[in-house]
Each structure stands twice: as C-alpha cells, then as structure tokens.
C-alpha cells in the first residue's frame, strides 16, 4: 500500500505546481491595454539587433524621444529602457542588465528621478521590476526597491502578489496567457493626441535642495559601470517643466557631470531651438510630449549627439534594415490608428486611460 502511494503524491504535487503556474500566467497583469508601462521592461528582450544608443530613465525618456526618427534621420539604432517612475537605482540595475546583453556606444540618462531617495510606490516597483529577466541585477534591484510590506518572495512568485485579481480578469488576460503584443516602438510610448500646456502651479519651496545620497550613489555607479565598459554616459534633463526641476538640482547634476568628465545637457532652455511648441507638441498639457514633439526632439537630439559622439549609420546593413523596417511599419500603422481614432471620436479610445475606463 505504502509503496504505491508515492506516485500519486508526486503526481498531485506536479498537478498543483502546474495549476499554480497556469494561475500565475493568468493572474499576473498583462499591461497590454491602457496601462502598458508594465510591459516596457520585458519588451527589450525581444530585440533582434544591437543598439548603439540606449536611453535610460522614466517617462521623460520613453514618452519624449522617438527612436524611429533617430533611425529614419540618422540611421542610429537606439532603444529606450524606461518605465513608469523608474528610480535611479532601478535605472542603474537596468543598465547593468542591458550591458549584459550588449555594449552600446552611448547611454543617455535622464536625471529627473534623482529627486527621489525612497521607493515611491509598490505598484510602480512592480511595473519596473517584474519585466526584468532573473539575474543578480534583478535580485539587487528588488532588494533596493522594496517598500514596507513588500516581500521578496512575491517577486519570485508573482502569483502571491496578484492572486487576488481573479475578480477583475479581462479578455487580455486570456488572450495573452503565453504571448504578448509589442506596446512600444523601441521603448517609445506613442501618443499622437494634443492637449496644450496652459501653465503649471508655482513650484513649492523645499526645505532641503540636496539631491539624495542614494540616487547620487547609484548615478556614480552608473558612471563607473559605463567607464568600465567603455560606454559614453550622457546626462540630460528632458524639456519638461513639471514636476519642477529646481536650479539647485540642476547645478548639482552639472557639478557631478563636471567632476566625472561627463556631458550634462538641460533641454528645458533649448525648447525654442529644438522647435518645440508646447501648445501642440504635448498630449497631456505639458507633462509629456506627444509623437509630434518626440519626433522633433529626436531629430534635434540626434544631430546634437552626432556632432560630439561617433555613432554609426546602420542603414544599408541587412539585419538592421529588416529589424527597423518592421518597427517603422508598426510605428506608422499605430500612428494611423491613433489619428483615425482622433478623427472619429475626437480623442483616443483604445490607448491610455480611456482604454482602461472603457
């Protein structure tokens, strides 16, 4: 009797693990519609060609630069490794992760997140970290990011975090059980709609303008890592006025760059030169650029970059041509869809917040 029971026990254990695995696939959010930011970090691993330029940062990179324009105008193969409210240490570990896969010539880091010294929200942590491939970088990223009440094991087995979603499953969860559609264009989040910038509230006085020790430390580690790998690190501040980028912060970022012999470029004063018109080039009243704005910024930034950095023109190389043609087609198709929705409804209905509320 005893001898014949263990196969059943083993079978039951296998079935339980299988069921839990399926439940996990089903219940983990798919980030395919509406809030697509959770898909961004994982999408990088689908890339078939290397990149000479990699952007790292939060929404100030993934909504403001169009890699398609960089390709079409200069033949620069680039990628944006950004996610929603990506904190400096998360950017560092994503850089570490990226450099394990490829070695670009230049990395552009947007300094906006230096103002955050603490993990901000569990939900944003998850959207940034869940998509990372397992490795030492992910483990350390989790340990550096967890807010109170978060558990490492919930990253290891996301089912423990998302098990309660069974009440809110949608068609996306079934359709994308095993495969996901791309939601970005080399990491860029497309929005073609327009909502003019009308003004922002006066910036608050801060008690202390010193950028935090933790983000500055990780910025330093980014610089070290890039030097070690022979990658040029360029610091920028995207041309977005809100949340307010204080002069005191700007001076600290510039001082850091000077100390490390890096370039730091604040794009806010350069908007006129770039040709940005915040009454037409933003989709959410000036918080982020829309596609028109992102294309303008990419065109200007690519030119600026090539004046000082040697980035190859990959056009004419078969593998790059094929990969970027596919991206460009997808980019144009989505643009057309978005314009069509705008024409029909006066707003986007299957992208952004509307897609969630619908």
């Amino acid at each position: 009797m005893k001898g014949r029971r263990w196969p059943a026990a083993l079978l039951a254990a296998v079935c339980a693990l299988g069921a839990l695995y399926l439940a996990q696939r089903l219940l983990v959010p798919k980030y395919q519609t509406g809030v697509v930011e959770g898909s961004m970090v994982a999408e990088y691993y689908r890339e078939t060609v290397d990149h000479d330029l990699v952007f790292i940062g939060d929404c100030e990179v993934y909504e403001n630069f169009s890699p398609i324009t960089l390709w079409e105008t200069y033949g620069i193969s680039s990628y944006i490794r950004g996610s929603a409210q990506q904190l400096t240490w998360q950017s560092y570990y994503l850089l570490e992760d990226t450099l394990r896969h490829e070695t670009p010539r230049a990395v552009v880091y947007n300094v906006q997140a230096l103002q955050f010294s603490q993990p901000q929200s569990e939900a944003y942590n998850r959207m940034t970290i869940d998509g990372m491939r397992w490795g030492p970088a992910k483990v350390r990223c989790i340990l550096a990011s967890m807010t109170e009440g978060e558990h490492f094991i919930e990253y290891l087995f996301p089912l423990l975090r998302y098990h309660d979603r069974w009440g809110e499953l949608t068609g996306d969860d079934v359709e994308h059980l095993f495969s996901k559609d791309p939601v970005t264009h080399a990491g860029y989040y497309m929005r073609v709609d327009v909502k003019a910038q009308t003004g922002f509230p006066e910036p608050r006085m801060l008690a202390d303008y010193t950028l935090g020790e933790k983000p500055m430390d990780y910025l330093g580690r980014m610089a070290d890592l890039c030097r070690e790998k022979g990658v040029e690190l360029i610091l920028i501040k995207a041309p977005i006025e809100y949340p307010h980028w204080y002069d005191e912060w700007d001076r600290q970022a510039a001082a850091f760059a000077a100390e490390r012999g890096l370039t730091y470029l604040n794009l806010i004063p350069l908007r006129e030169e770039i040709g940005l018109d915040m009454s037409t080039d933003t989709y959410d009243a000036g918080l982020h650029l829309n596609t028109g704005g992102a294309e303008k910024l990419a065109a200007w930034f690519g030119g600026w970059l090539l004046e000082r950095t040697d980035l190859p023109d990959r056009r004419g190389e078969a593998a790059y041509d094929a990969a970027w043609r596919e991206k460009t087609d997808y980019y144009n198709a989505m643009k057309e869809r978005q314009y069509a929705e705008l024409a029909q409804y006066g707003e986007l209905v299957s992208f952004g917040a509307n897609a969630v509320e619908r």
């Binding site: 005893k2 029971r5 059943a8 026990a9 039951a12 079935c15 975090r161 098990h163 069974w166 009440g167």
Partner: protein, 524 residues
Amino acid sequence: MLFTSYAFVGFLALTLLAYYLVPGRCQWPLLLAASYVFYWAASPWYLLFILVTTASAYGVSLKLAALSGEQRAYLAAHGDLTREEKRAFRAGIKKRKWAWLLGCLALNIGILAVTKYTNFVIRSLNALTGGGLRPVDMIVPMGISFYTFQTVGYVIDVYRDRQPAQRNFFKLALFVSFFPQLVQGPISRYGQLSETLFTPHRFQEKTFSFGLMRVLWGYFKKVVLADRLLPAVTALTGDAAYTGAYVLAAMLFYAFELYCDFTGGIDITIGIGEAMGIRMPENFDLPYFSKNIREYWNRWHITMGTWFTDYIFYPISVCRPMLRLSKWSREHLGQAVGKRVTVYLSSFAVWLATGIWHGAAWNFVAWGLTNWAVIMISQELEPLYERFHRRFALRGKAPYEAFQVVRTVLLMSAIRMFDCYRDVPLTIAMLGSMFTRFDPRIFTDGSLLDLGLDGADLLVLGLGLAVALAVSLFKRKKGSVRQALYEKPAAVFYGTMAALLVCTVVFGAYGAGYDAAQFIYNRF
C-alpha cells in the same frame, strides 16, 4: 511570525525537513531550538519571560516531587505509626508543598497579571476616581496566557501527585515553549503531550500526510474564509450606525469569522504536531452543532474549559470553607439555596476569570458574566424543559434539534458582541436595536455589498463556507474526513490536498493585492 506570514511557512517547511533528517533522539532538542528561534523572532525580550516561567516550574516541581518522595519514604519506614501520627506527618508535608506551589503560582500568575492587566487596572482606577494615572508601556509576551496556564497546570499536577516531575530542564522547556501551540493554544496537559513530544518519530506517510492535510485545511479556513470576512466584520462593528438587521449580519459574520479563524489556527497547530507524530488535545468538537450553551462550552475551546474546571472550578467548589458554607446554607437557608450556593459561586468565579483571561477590559468581564448568567438560567429552567418534553415528544426530532442548534448559535453570537463592540452600553444598545429597527431588506437589496466585500468575495465565501459545512456534517455523521479520503485511491487523497493548496493560494485574502481592509479603514 504569524502563522499566515511567508516567514512562518518557510520556517515550518525547514523545521519539518530537519525534523525527519536528524536522528530520532535529536528530534525533541531540534524542536526546542526551533521553538526558541520562533519566540526569539517575535522579540528577544520574550525569551526572558518564558525562561523565568520554565525555571520556576522546573525548580518547584522538583521540590514538590522530593517532598512527596520524603512522605512516601517516611511512611514506608514507619509502618508502626498511628493514624493520627500519619495524618500529622502528611499535613506537615502538605503545608510545605502548598507553600512552594503558592510561591510558584504567585510568581507566574503575577507576571501574567502585571504584564496583561496593569493598564486595565490603571484605566479602571482612573475611570472610578477621575484620576490621571498614566498607562505604562508594558511588554506583553506573545502567548503568555497560554504558556502560563499550561505550565501552571503542570506544576499543580505535580503538586497533586498525578504527574512525576520532569527532571530534564530542556524537556520541560520544550513543553512550555512548543512553537505550534505557543500563540493560541490548545492548552496541553503535561501527562498527555509528553507521551509523544519527546519520543523519536520515524517518517510515516500516513501521519505526515494527515498532518499536512490538516494544516492546509486550517490555512484554507483562516486565509480564504476568516480573513476575507474580516473587512465586513470590521465595517459592521466599527460604526454604530449599523443598527437593526445589520447587527444580526454582524453577529453571523463574526460567528463565522471567529470560528474559521480560531479553528483554522488550531487545525494548523494540531496538524503540525500530527505531521511530526506529536499528539495535542483537540480544542473544538463541532461547537456550532451544540444544542445548548453548556454543551457549546464543552465543545468550544475545550482545553481552556477543562483547564478552568480542573484548576479553578473544582478547587474552589470543594474547598473546606465552601463545603462548610454549603452545609450552613442548607441548615439556615433551606435545601434549595444550600444546593445551589457552591455551584453558583464557583462558576461565577470561573466565568469572571474566563472573561478576564480573554482580554483586559470590562467588556470581556461582561461577556464572561453573561455566559455565566445564561448557563445558570438554563440550569434553573431544566425542570421546566423536562415537563415540556414529557408533554410534547419533541426530543431527538430533527426539526427540534435544528431549532436548538440555531438558537444556541444565535445566543452565543449575541453574547459575543460584547467582545466585538468593546463597549458594554453600546453592545446592549445595538442588540436592543435589533428589536426596534429590524429591516430585513438589507439582506436582499445589495446593502451587504457596501461592507468591503464585492460579489466575487461573497461567492468565494459562500462556496467556502458550504465546503466547511459539508466537512462538519460529514464529521458529525461519519467521522474523520481524512480517513474516508485515505481509504479511497491515493490519487483522491493527494488530489484533494493539491486542490486545497491551489484554492488557498489563489483565493486567500492575503498580500499587497488585498487592500479591502484598508479601503474600509479609509472610508471611515
């Protein structure tokens, strides 16, 4: 480490694995180490408290055993003593034993009283005198009520010569601190637990899988049912605006929440023991099938009830002053009073103690004494019931039994509201509102969905409670569910276990995703 924390699940898995990997004679020392790690993880300070209790019980029980030995040896060596001389000698020994016991009780009950009740006394004094004594910041060691009672029970058993003293300090330390039962009982007796606690256990598929099944079932009840019900209970009892029919809803929700929480926790505890071949006493015997409140208290938190009976009720009710009082009352106040005085006074003391034991607050005192009053009233009504039953042959008929069961559940749930509202006048007012403002429409018009539970939650709760009810009914009619499953093909037994695991992980109310509780707190 709460039972429902990841840390505890990991700790438990490691302990079980190590338990069967080490040689049999190392198993109990391993459990002692694990128990101390468990307690240390809660707070290193707690170890100090439990060590004082262990050391005092160890020393005093050895002294008591030595005195008993002295008595035996003396009486055996002096067979020629007269009865009076023997009596005198015994009385002398008893006096010395009593002094030691009293010292040990004073120390341990004293620690319990000071840590748990200082602030209660301060607050009560303030309320009484209008004084402004400040409550003190007191360490209350986790599970102190449980391990103190368990240890005191052991010392009294040694005092009564019903239990030889344990000469191995570390074995006694394990009895006091055994981690599965440290937090919420059951309150084991030394004689029973020691039978299996220290003996080596080889891995056996049946005992291990039975234990594991019970642990899983406990987690299911705790995490899927109790914790999912909790937001609704919190909402209903946290706002005095929920009157009338809502009070009935609160009574029922709390009845199920408490049942699933407490029996679930005990199932985890006893299941862990079973998986290691260690037998602990049962603490519940289908309490919600009780036909009256006395029966209920024989089936709910059984080890606490028997502890109070053996160590408080009997000693008070058969002590000489009480016997004399009883005799005196019979002679001067008549048979009717004389017969009752002992039982009334002793059980009053027991229920007062039970109330205070449950929590340091007046609402628990009120709760305990209400239980006492109801038991006494039903005791007095017994002859009336007899006449009623002789007249209408209803006894044993299914509908009448169902009525008795429902009546008992409702009565107990109503009394329990003292512990829910935590305010005696408020509880009385709320219970009263059931009779003045009862609007049954709330059960059908969706009002219950405003309590932090959505339709999906209610569905899971409904199905889960139905499963729990089916298990209870099976147990009542046919006995062990696990045994019945075990007799089926192995795939059925292990398949059930796998299903239980998956359901608990997916449908449990735990983790960051589950913020319904917070939602409730935010709303008010």
